[in-house]
Symmetry: D2
Subunit: 254 residues, 4 copies
């Protein structure tokens, strides 16, 4: 899965976007990858083929991402997808396309979050949750974000709730009788709080409590650069994982 | 306002309660105070007089505190009140009693929070608020607390809102369009979040944000002992402040 | 390993000490354990036997702990040890005694730290370390602590260093040219900082950094009660683990 | 001190440097300032005069900053200086030049740190220090920084030490007997710790402790943009303050 120089040839779709531009730079800078083609809206994706590309990184918008991925599968290349907005139906279409792909071992990888710190925070929350009576999630983002809470925080709440159920833990203790909304949104039994503050980017804190002790796990993503180690990890790992893989934790050797 | 030994004679009403017992110990341990009488439900408050007491510390329950304070005023002693639940009407009754007190310079001091860290966090939030675009309050308590958010957090939200208004700042920036409650309770325009976690006691964090920077001010009260430096400060200061004084910040030399 | 009521019979050695008294209460309160004998300096440890005890919890002082454990092994009971100060030589003596113990499956468990949050923080630091360029440890304790840094922080530094070596990471980046000691103590290549602050108990924070992101893992042990869930976990698990086991992470199902 | 549009005319010296470029953008974006001249090494500073400029912002390097400032004073304009490296001797030369300046009310402002959060953290540390037994400073920066601890942390340590002395507080409590350097650098009696972590920019935390409570004040400067509100504040205030002024706290209405 690499050219004669031993480097992985990476094409970038959405190369002029903010994330795509960062990917172009990361792929160019890394010692074991090299930049192949860079494409954007208006370019022809069928220029990409195994002749010039080992792995494509796709960072566009939800409205075109599925179409892009299906085309890239038919071109016979492996794909790392950073675009969000994937529904179960869309994922099924990707799986179907992979079943009929040119190469038997062809691979697509989709991740909702490429920041290693965020992925690890979610994973550690799941490991730790069964040992603690209480658990809450606080996410903090810049004030231009339109949705609350973040998709990552919702995911973490489910991760914690699943771990508590598996361990037979009941509901978190909470004697609150009088509240006008300060206790946040309850996601799968877990209270989730969303802070919006100028100057912040994307941050999440998981708080776990027992009598006399607290465990706090916090991920701070200060800028888009925080996604690049995760994107490069996916680029290096995707070609060994045939079919559709979801979530960066799959590629972390935990 | 001290006996011949130069120490302030302090009687404690509610001496067997959890806070009262801590006050008895603090007053006994401090070099410049000495324990006079200790009283509880069933004891006669008129045993307290200027003959044996300079300052009374009253830590009981809201249902009897007003009655206790009025009796203590009529006994001619200064009072430090730690009981909560004071309404404007109750405060007016205290003021009226002080206007007819035996001594012209008689003093009553009431504080909603005796933890110096909490009082300073609130005060600093007020000083800093006008310099920041964004401000939110997160309070964290043990899960047995029945009200949310805490009275201290509500007070801090008003402190911040007042400072923003005085500086001509508009609403905090917030593009949230989709939320199921995670953005917390809006108190006077300021988002307030309440976390409940086993192992915690009483904590508050004020977050202030500008482009590229954040200021965080956090008070952690790990146990009841955190109130004692504030109670002793009030005991030392109350007798110089005739009339009704509310809030420990008055006695901090800021 | 339980009596006819299905509860584990637990004897406590060092029952009047501060930790021991907490253990007595925890064992009495838990639904699946019951208090058997309580012993202290001056008591005869040979009163403890399989007739009255399934598991002994030993919380004394380093100077007598080895002798106590050897006696308890010869009495045929399993032992959970919370006393610190174990050297390789002492551990070898325990192993030798276990090899000649009355029961073939006899078990001794020794843990340097019973706080689940602290054990998990150390474990997660080890899992995460290979994914980050930078790693430092900050521990914070009450100012009466005589050693710095804490044994737990030293252990965490080694855990991180081991993970970095295994992953082929080089030294942490650090361009510091001018320093009068602020960069802390370098333990196995990892900078460790020790804060001493009135009001704190035992806290540790692991900071891991990549371009654009940070992962923070923090354990707060506010009081001795934080050890009890870990002690009870060890009491429940020890009898299934013949021989000498060291470290609570062994009993956490991670 | 403004042109007919009511806006302050600002020239930037060092306009192509990283800080200078940010200043050019901030001055252009703000409603009450307008960009006049932009100069760099090789440009003639005498092009700047009251005919085209109200305030100059100077962000260059220590080796040329004094010379630049003296020239700008002789040109009759007010100056805001962000360059570091000012010694007492250099400051005296600025004062002497101001005494002979073309305008009687001419003003120079020099600040070691323009981040409002950092300036407030330092100021609040000074206000709070006398109320706490313990105080320590932790600063955290990117690993390319060559000096440790930061100048700001050293300044904060002195601020705290001054406040403790003025209040008659003795040394901070510290029973440490065994340490290999983890307790950090002692600056004026205050322990200062420096963390270096990839992904961070410039951060400082002041920790203050009493029995049962902690007050934490933290400044996070995520990027150079954090300096711009402080630079603009200085631009707006400098012309009212004849002579040499040092430190942004002077211009904060605290």
């Amino acid at each position: 899965m690499a050219n004669e120089t031993g480097r992985i040839r990476v094409s970038v779709v959405g190369a002029k976007g903010r994330m795509g531009a960062n990917v172009v730079k990361a792929v160019t800078d890394a010692a074991d990858t090299e930049l192949a083609l860079t494409l954007d809206a208006g370019n022809d994706l069928t220029e990409i083929s195994p002749d010039n590309t080992d792995v494509v990184v796709e960072f566009t918008v939800p409205s075109v991402s599925l179409s892009n991925v299906l085309t890239l599968i038919s071109q016979g290349v492996d794909v790392v997808v950073g675009t969000t907005g994937w529904t179960d139906d869309k994922l099924d279409q990707v799986r179907a396309a992979l079943a009929n792909a040119p190469r038997a071992d062809q691979a697509v990888f989709i991740a909702p979050n490429f920041a290693i710190s965020a992925v690890l925070a979610d994973y550690f929350a799941g490991l730790a949750a069964k040992y603690f009576e209480s658990a809450e999630v606080v996410e903090l983002h810049h004030p231009n974000k339109v949705d609350a809470p973040s998709g990552t925080a919702i995911h973490t709440a489910h991760t914690i709730a699943d771990a508590r159920r598996a361990a037979g833990l009941g509901p978190v203790p909470d004697a609150t009788e009088t509240d006008g909304g300060s206790r946040g949104q309850v996601v799968d039994g877990i209270h989730v709080h969303a802070v919006r503050l100028r100057g912040l980017n994307a941050h999440e804190e998981v708080l776990l409590g027992n009598p006399g002790e607290q465990l706090s796990i916090r991920s701070d993503c200060f800028d888009r650069g925080s996604f690049m180690p995760g994107v490069l990890l996916a680029v290096r790992k995707v070609s060994g994982h045939a079919g559709l893989t979801i979530g960066l934790d799959t590629f972390l050797d935990l």
